[in-house]
C-alpha cells in the first residue's frame, strides 16, 4: 500500500469524527455539499462523489482481474479469434455451402483445387457480381495428372441466403434450417478451399470439423478437471496414505508416454472383444466415439491437474486466514468453500485454459491416427488432415488438403494467449 494510507492511520481511540475527518474535510474545497454532510449511514454515497483520494470506488477482485486482462492485447485478440471460431463452429451448417459428407458421383469432383471466384467481367473488365464457372476435369495425356478447365460459356453467380432442402442442418441440436449463407446453382460448384479425394468440400468440412475439435478440448478438460479435483482434492485434504497412493498413481501415469497411452486406451476401448465396446454395441455411433475420445483424453490428462490442485490445497490450508476462520468457529466445509477453494480458483482457471490446447492437439493426433471420432458422419481437423496422407497422393499437387492445419494452429495459439493473459491478470505482481 502507499504511504498515504499510513498517514490515514488514526491514533488508537481516535474519536468517531476524527475517523471520518479525511472523508469530508480533505477534498472539501471542491465540494459545495459539505454543509449538508449526511449521516454516517449515507456517507458511502457521499464519499463516492467527493474527492480524489478517498473517493475512488473500491474494486472487487473480479473487476481488477478483468481490467488487467483488458490491457493484455494479445490475450484479447486471442479471445476474440476464439469467439469467432466457436461462433462459426456453432453456425457451421449455415456458413458451409455444402453438407459434411455431401459429394457428387458424376461428374465427380475429387481433388478439386479451390474454385476461382471471378470479381470482374471478363468482357468489360469492370467489377461485377462475383461468379464462378463450371469446371471440367481432364487428364494430362502425358503425365496423367488431373487438369481442371473452366467452361466459360455460362456464368454462375454466387447467390446469398440460398435454401437447399436436401442439405438441412441443426444449430445446437435445436433449430432446423436449410438456409445457407451462399451457394451457386448446379451444375457449378463453389469450393473455397478445394475438395478431398471423394470430392467433399474442404471449406464446409473444416467448419463442421471445428464443432468436434473445438468442443472436445473443453469437454476433455472438464473430465480431467473432475478427476483432478476429486483425486487431487482427496490427496491434499486427507494426506497420509490416500495422498501417497494417489500421487504414486499420478507418477505412474506420468511415466507412460502420453501419445502411447492415448493410442493404447483408444484402441483397447475400440476392440470388439472389449466388454466396454460390447456394451456400446460393435458399431459405435459417432456420438459414442466422440464421448469415448473425450473420456480417453480426460483420463490421460488428469494427473497434472491433480498435482496442481493437491499442492494448492496443501498450501492454502497453511494460510493464516484459514486458521482465522477456524478460530472464529467456521466449519470444515465453510473453510473449504469460502476460503480454500476460492484461493485456488485463479490458478485452476489458468491451468484449465492452458491445458485446453494440449487436449485439442491430442485429439488431432488421435484422429490423425484414425483413433478419434469416426469418419462416418463426423469430422475433426485431425481427421481432415488424414486425407492428406491418403494413398497415392503427392501433397505438392494437392496442397489445399493441409488447410485444416491452420485452424488447429490458431485454436492452440489463441487458447495459449488467452491462458497467458488470464495468468498475468490474476498475478498481483504483474499488475500495471
Amino acid at each position: 500500500m502507499t504511504d498515504r494510507d499510513d498517514l490515514r492511520n488514526k491514533p488508537p481511540g481516535a474519536s468517531e469524527s476524527a475517523a471520518d475527518a479525511p472523508i469530508t474535510t480533505g477534498p472539501a474545497t471542491a465540494t459545495p455539499q459539505t454543509p449538508l454532510e449526511p449521516a454516517p449511514a449515507d456517507s458511502v454515497k457521499f464519499e463516492r462523489g467527493a474527492g480524489p483520494i478517498l473517493t475512488q470506488e473500491s474494486k472487487s477482485q473480479g473487476r481488477i482481474v478483468w481490467e488487467q486482462f483488458r490491457r493484455h492485447k494479445a490475450a484479447l485478440v486471442g479471445g476474440w479469434i476464439l469467439v469467432f471460431m466457436y461462433v462459426s463452429a456453432i453456425f457451421a451448417g449455415f456458413l458451409a455451402p455444402y453438407g459434411l459428407n455431401e459429394y457428387r458421383r458424376s461428374p465427380a469432383a475429387a481433388f478439386r483445387p479451390p474454385t476461382q471466384i471471378h470479381w470482374t467481367d471478363p468482357d468489360t473488365g469492370r467489377l461485377t457480381r462475383p461468379f464462378v464457372y463450371d469446371v471440367v476435369e481432364t487428364r494430362d495425356p502425358v503425365t496423367r495428372q488431373r487438369v481442371y478447365e473452366e467452361t466459360t460459356d455460362v456464368r454462375y453467380p454466387i447467390k446469398f441466403f440460398v435454401h437447399r432442402p436436401s442439405q438441412s442442418y441443426k444449430i445446437l441440436g435445436l433449430f432446423t434450417s436449410d438456409l445457407h449463407l451462399f451457394g451457386v446453382d448446379d451444375p457449378a460448384r463453389v469450393f473455397l478451399w478445394g475438395t478431398n479425394n471423394l470430392g467433399k468440400d474442404l471449406f464446409s468440412r473444416v467448419l463442421f470439423g471445428g464443432q468436434v475439435s473445438l468442443t472436445i478440448g473443453i469437454l476433455a478438460v472438464w473430465v480431467a478437471f473432475f478427476l483432478g479435483l476429486l483425486l487431487g482434492g482427496l490427496a491434499g485434504y486427507y494426506g497420509g496414505l490416500v495422498d501417497d497412493v494417489i500421487m504414486r498413481l499420478v507418477e505412474v501415469f506420468a511415466a507412460i508416454p502420453g501419445l502411447f497411452l492415448l493410442i493404447v486406451l483408444a484402441s483397447l476401448l475400440r476392440d470388439p472383444n472389449n466388454p466396454l465396446a460390447k456394451a456400446f454395441g460393435l458399431q459405435m455411433t459417432s456420438a459414442q466415439t466422440f464421448l469415448l475420445t473425450v473420456i480417453v483424453l480426460g483420463f490421460v490428462g488428469w494427473g497434472g491437474l491433480a498435482r496442481v490442485i493437491r499442492s494448492l490445497i496443501l498450501s492454502a490450508r497453511e494460510l493464516d486466514y484459514a486458521a482465522a476462520a477456524k478460530a472464529l468457529g467456521a466449519g470444515e466445509s465453510r473453510i473449504l468453500w469460502r476460503h480454500l477453494l476460492p484461493s485456488t480458483a485463479s490458478y485452476v482457471i489458468v491451468d484449465l485454459t492452458l491445458s485446453i490446447p494440449g487436449f485439442i492437439l491430442a485429439e488431432t493426433g488421435l484422429s490423425f491416427l484414425g483413433l478419434g471420432p469416426s469418419e462416418v458422419d463426423t469430422a475433426s481437423w485431425g481427421l481432415l488432415l488424414r486425407d492428406a496422407t491418403a494413398r497415392g497422393i503427392s501433397i505438392q499437387f494437392v496442397p489445399w488438403l493441409l488447410i485444416p492445419g491452420i485452424p488447429i494452429l490458431f485454436a492452440v495459439l489463441c487458447w495459449n494467449l488467452l491462458g497467458d493473459g488470464l495468468r498475468d491478470a490474476f498475478d498481483p505482481k504483474k499488475r500495471r
Binding site: 499510513d6 492511520n9 488508537p12 468517531e16 454516517p40 473500491s58 493464516d320 482465522a324 478460530a327 476460503h339
Partner: protein
Amino acid sequence: MSNQPSKDGNGAATQTGPLLEVKNLRKYFPIRGGIFSRVVANVKAVEDVSFNVQRGEVVGLVGESGSGKTTVGRSILRLIEPTAGEVIFDGVDVTKLSKAHMREYRKRMQIIFQDPFASLNPRMSVGDIIGEAMTIHNLARGKEREQRVAQLLERVGLAPSHMRRYPHEFSGGQRQRIGIARALAVNPQFIVADEPVSALDVSIQAQVVNLLQDLKEELGLTLLFIAHDLGVVEYISDHVIVMYLGRIMEIAPSKDLYANPIHPYTEALLSAVPIPDPTVKRDRIILQGDIPSPINPPSGCVFRTRCPIATKECADAVPPLVEVTPGHFKACINR
C-alpha cells in the same frame, strides 16, 4: 497473574480462579521419512509448559524464533492439536471438547495473527471478513450485522465506509486493525495476540499496542501477548513468561523481571533491548551460536549450550521452575 498451576494467584482477580490454566502442554511435530512415511523423529516445539493467566491481565510470552511461543498460542485455541497436556479455560479443559462444544468456546477466545497480509482473505471485503463470525454464530445479519461491523471498525480507528473495501487497499497497520476488529466481532473474553506488531513499522507498532491496551481496558479483555521483543512486552504486560526451546525459563511480574532478571537467558534478552538514550552504555550479553535443534534438544537445561554460567550439573536434569520471590519463578540451578 501467572503462576505455577499448583499455586494460587494472589491479587485482584480471584473471584473464580484463573481464566486460563495451561498444564504440562506438549506439542511434537512428527517428521516422517522413508517409503512408508514412518515417524523418524519429532520436533519438540513445546515441552512441558505450564502457566496461568488471571482474568483481566495481560501476559507477555517472549522468546526468540523457534522457542515455541506461537505453538503455545495456537495450541490454546486448538488451531494446532496439542500432543499432551491440558488447556483449562474458565474451568473447562478445551482440549477434550468435541467440535460442536469447541465452537461455543471459540466465541470466548480469539487470536490476532502476526502477518496482517496473510491473515485476511484477499477475496472478501472488510465487512465480510469482520462479519463472518457473526454469520457463523448467528449473532447478527443484514442491517444489524452491518451496524456492528461499522461499530467495530470505528472502535479500532477505521472508518465505517471501509467495510466495502478489500484488504489489498490497506496498509499493514490498517490491516492489523481489521484483524483486531475481526477478533472482537464475537465479543471474546480472551485474545491470543500472536506477535501482532512484529510485522509492522516501528512507527505503527506503538499505535497498535496502544489500541490493544485501550481495548483491553474498555472491554475488560484478557490477553496473551506473544512477542520476541521484550521492549514491546514490557509496556503492555502485567506478567511475562520467557520461553526458550519449548520450555519456560522464567515467569515474573513485569516490573520485577525488568528490574531483577534471574535467568541468564532473560538477562541476555534484556540486554538486547535498545535504550533510547545514546549516553547510556550497557554491557550487552551476546549469546554464542544458534538455538539448538528442537529435534534433538540438549539434555538437562536446554539453555546450557549457550549459557554463560553453565556448569556440569546443568546437563544432568531439567531444572524445575522454582519460586524465588512471590510470583517470580526461574528454571536455573545456578542462580
